[in-house]
């Protein structure tokens, strides 16, 4: 027995030697890793002293932090803290001065003049001039930059289309800097919400010196990331974290209470939730849906509405959906209260209109409140809706018999969030109308092009507003819009949108936009299901931060109690 024990001990020791030989191939690689791990303790060290650093999670590793190239919400959220546009959006959602202290527009709405603040500086201490804005805006319009949001933000600017199509030089874009503190924009068409565009992250100023010296790579290294916002990048470990420290050269640096913000780049919601529970993060955006029932009623769990609608596309080029009454019937057969509060666990709000709460009515007030004389378009009485839906189906010539379905339909969706649960619900709900629904789950990267091509019958869709002007969402249904995935084509609707685009009169514009939604909802051009919310965990220790209806969190003026 004793002999055996010795033997085992010897085997163990020998195997250690053996395995050390076995893993020699790993040794060079492991020593390589030393360089990256040696920088890691340094990172831990930098927030170890008394520095007040807020650790948050708003998404995974951002694809880019170049304002011109960003098209993601999480990237946009970080950009708000790094770069400051001419204008900003304040805590109440109103336009506020940013890098520009004052601004004015001519009566025809075509010339906008922005007056920059005195003594603006870049994070490297150099002076920020109006010509830097000219450079930045031209860069967005330049096709060589390939900025995904270029036409969303610059379409009304003189010569934009010609520049973006490569027919004119970017220097011919209608922007100029008569002096170091004045920035002038010439529009080719009046844009009633141009202030919102001037506050849009894509149009943040970029530092010409660093961009010229480093090309697209300027925005990936802290040393070359020169910015003008309240915070500046000091460290970026892709896939791990981004450390941003207060920018001493920011004009309003005195209002910043934090020393820094550490953005954990967590992709998995369970991982971010663990980080929150252990106190490694004080704020997380990604909460696992399975935890929600246990979090309801917890004061640190927040559900805030954002400007966005989860809706369904019924492909209007498919024979079945050429009849508006059939589309309407399918819409009415959905119990939105059940979908939002039970299936989606209250993390969405039931949507009875296309345009949800929060959109700014051009004539003043909330677009949602003013729509349809204050009534929702779709009644909240589900039983009555279902009865009406059945009548509509029968009138359209279908059996409408759940036992003997006479309509075959394929519903396509990708599998994430609640999409699959909703699909299964629709299968059941539309069966009431005698429709036999097949659910087709498509991988994300294939799903969006398929839907865009109109290669489906019914599909899920969704939109979150970029700015609070209703045109940002309602124009999705315009016949020639690139995001009109339902191929909805209604001349009356298009005419109403055309009016809203051409008029500078806010009341007339408001009327036209409401009329467009009236037509859209009457003809069930798409099927709104639920309004998006952001649901997140926020520690009670954080004060002075807020959440905006665009789905952004503002940490810049926050403090840790």
């Amino acid at each position: 027995m004793k002999k055996q024990a010795t033997l085992i001990a010897i085997i163990l020791v020998l195997c250690l030697v053996f395995s050390a030989c076995g893993s020699t191939a790993a040794t060079p690689a492991a020593s390589d890793a030393g360089s990256s791990s040696s920088s890691a303790p340094a990172a831990a060290g930098s927030d170890a002293p008394a520095a007040k650093i807020l650790t948050v999670q708003v998404g995974p590793n951002p694809e880019t932090l170049d304002p011109a190239l960003n098209s993601a919400v999480d990237g946009g959220n970080m950009l708000l803290h790094l770069d400051e546009c001419l204008l900003t959006v304040d805590q109440n959602g109103a336009i506020a001065p940013g890098a520009a202290e004052t601004w004015e527009v001519t009566d025809d709405g075509l010339t906008w003049t922005f007056h920059l603040r005195d003594g603006l500086k870049w994070s490297d201490g150099s002076d920020l001039k109006a010509s830097d804005f000219v450079y930045s805006w031209q860069r967005v319009a330049n096709p060589a930059t390939a900025a995904p949001y270029a036409d969303t933000v610059l379409w009304p600017v003189v010569n934009f289309n010609a520049v973006f199509d490569g027919e004119k030089d970017p220097s011919e874009l209608g922007v100029s800097a008569p002096d170091d503190q004045t920035f002038v924009v010439e529009l080719s068409a009046a844009c009633p919400y141009f202030e919102s565009l001037a506050a849009f992250a894509t149009l943040s100023p970029v530092n010409p010196a660093t961009v010229e010296a480093n090309g697209d790579a300027w925005a990936v290294a802290p040393e070359t990331y020169v910015s003008n916002g309240p915070f500046m990048i000091t460290e970026w470990v892709p896939g791990s974290y981004i450390l941003t420290m207060a920018n001493p050269n920011y004009w309003n640096a005195d209002a910043i209470k934090l020393d820094g913000i550490k953005w954990l780049l967590i992709e998995d919601s369970n991982a971010s939730y663990s980080a929150y529970q252990t106190g490694e993060a004080l704020f997380i955006k990604d909460v696992p849906t399975e935890e929600i029932p246990s979090l309801l009623g917890n004061s640190e769990f927040h559900v805030d509405p954002i400007l966005g609608t989860y809706y369904l596309n019924l492909n209007c080029t498919v024979d079945l959906f050429k009849d508006a009454n059939v589309r309407k019937a399918l819409s009415l057969a959905i119990d939105r209260e059940y979908v939002a509060n039970t299936l989606m666990q209250g993390t969405y709000l039931p949507a009875y209109n296309f345009m949800g709460p929060g959109w700014a009515d051009p004539a003043g007030g909330d677009f949602f409140e003013n729509a349809n004389n204050g009534e929702t378009y779709i009644s909240e009485d589900y039983e009555a809706n279902l009865a009406e839906a059945k009548e509509l189906m029968k009138a359209a010539g279908y059996n409408c018999d759940p036992e003997n379905p006479d309509v075959q339909l394929t519903y396509s969706t990708n599998d994430s969030g609640y999409h699959k649960v909703v699909a299964e619900y629709l299968q059941q709900a539309w069966k009431e109308l005698g429709i036999d629904v097949d659910v087709e789950i498509v991988e994300w990267a294939s799903f969006t092009p398929m839907r865009r091509a109109g290669d489906y019958q019914a599909a899920r869709n969704g939109w979150v507003g970029d700015y609070s002007d209703p045109s940002n969402m309602i124009e999705l249904l315009y016949s020639s819009n690139g995001n009109n995935d339902g191929k909805y084509n209604n001349p009356d609707f298009d005419a109403a949108i055309d009016v809203s685009r051409s008029t500078m009169d806010v009341n007339e514009r408001s009327k036209a936009l409401h009329e467009a939604e009236d037509i859209l909802m009457e003809t069930a051009g798409c099927v709104p299901v639920a309004y998006y919310t952001d649901f997140y965990m926020q520690s009670a220790k954080i004060t002075g931060m807020w959440h905006s209806a665009y789905g952004y969190w503002y940490f810049m003026f926050a403090d840790i109690a």
Partner: protein, 305 residues
Amino acid sequence: MAKYIIKRLLLAVITVFVVATLTFFLMNAVPGGPYEAEKSISPTAKAALEAKFGLDQPLFKQYLTYLKNILHGDFGPSLKQRGRNVNDIIMTKFPVSAKIGGISVAVALIVGIPLGCISALNRGKASDSTIIVLATIGIAVPSFVVCSLSMYLFGVKLRWLPTVGLTTWKNYIMPVFALSFYPSAYITRLMRSSMLDVLGQDYMRTARAKGVSQFVSLFKHALRNAILPIVTYVGPMMAYTLTGSFIIEKVFTIPGLGGEFVSSIQNRDYMMIMGTTIFLATLMVFMTFIVDIVYKIIDPRINLK
């Protein structure tokens, strides 16, 4: 031997070339593209992007350009992580994965080989049964379960270990545990059966009959022969482990290369797909080559031709 090495090198180049070609055309055959999103970008913006990265060229021309670039060691720019090159991404992320992977391989060998030997030497006894049960659990339980359970227990409930990132040595414990869980169990079983096989051989009986001590017979004769299947397994396993694990990196927020394999495909980041695939293929071919050489060293009877 030199002839053998040259032959193997040539074969390796051909293998990697075939892998690259197949990947290139297969990934382009899958629907979707790098610039698809819920909010479509305008056709002009999309055209500008595609022109910038040469995606508007005919496929075969793109393929030739790509081949030309990789001959110069240039994997090109990432189509999604703007401003970053595939080379840079691999060079910053591979060391992270390789460190965790290297430690895990070592742990798996340190745990697996002795346990397998103990089990074989005590065949039928309680210690053998215990080890077999443990090894079976190790093989049956998927790594995401190990990750989540250890995260919940040691990270969230007991608060013994940090859950995010790789800042201190403590951060390595859970990922290494999760990553070495399966290979440890597999090596244990492999070692056990191969050891049993060797112990039953005539030459072992002869050795014992000649009065060779148990120590010498075990280490000089048995272990050396029994280790060969482990070497076969460890080679390719090392290539996979060093390049990172998608699940483990995701759960523990480790900035390794494993996540890039999966996300590049989901994002249709063609340059990243090609870069990571060629990198893994090269590593794989290299490891197999190393395994063959190690064979020769352990068992001189093997003739490399």
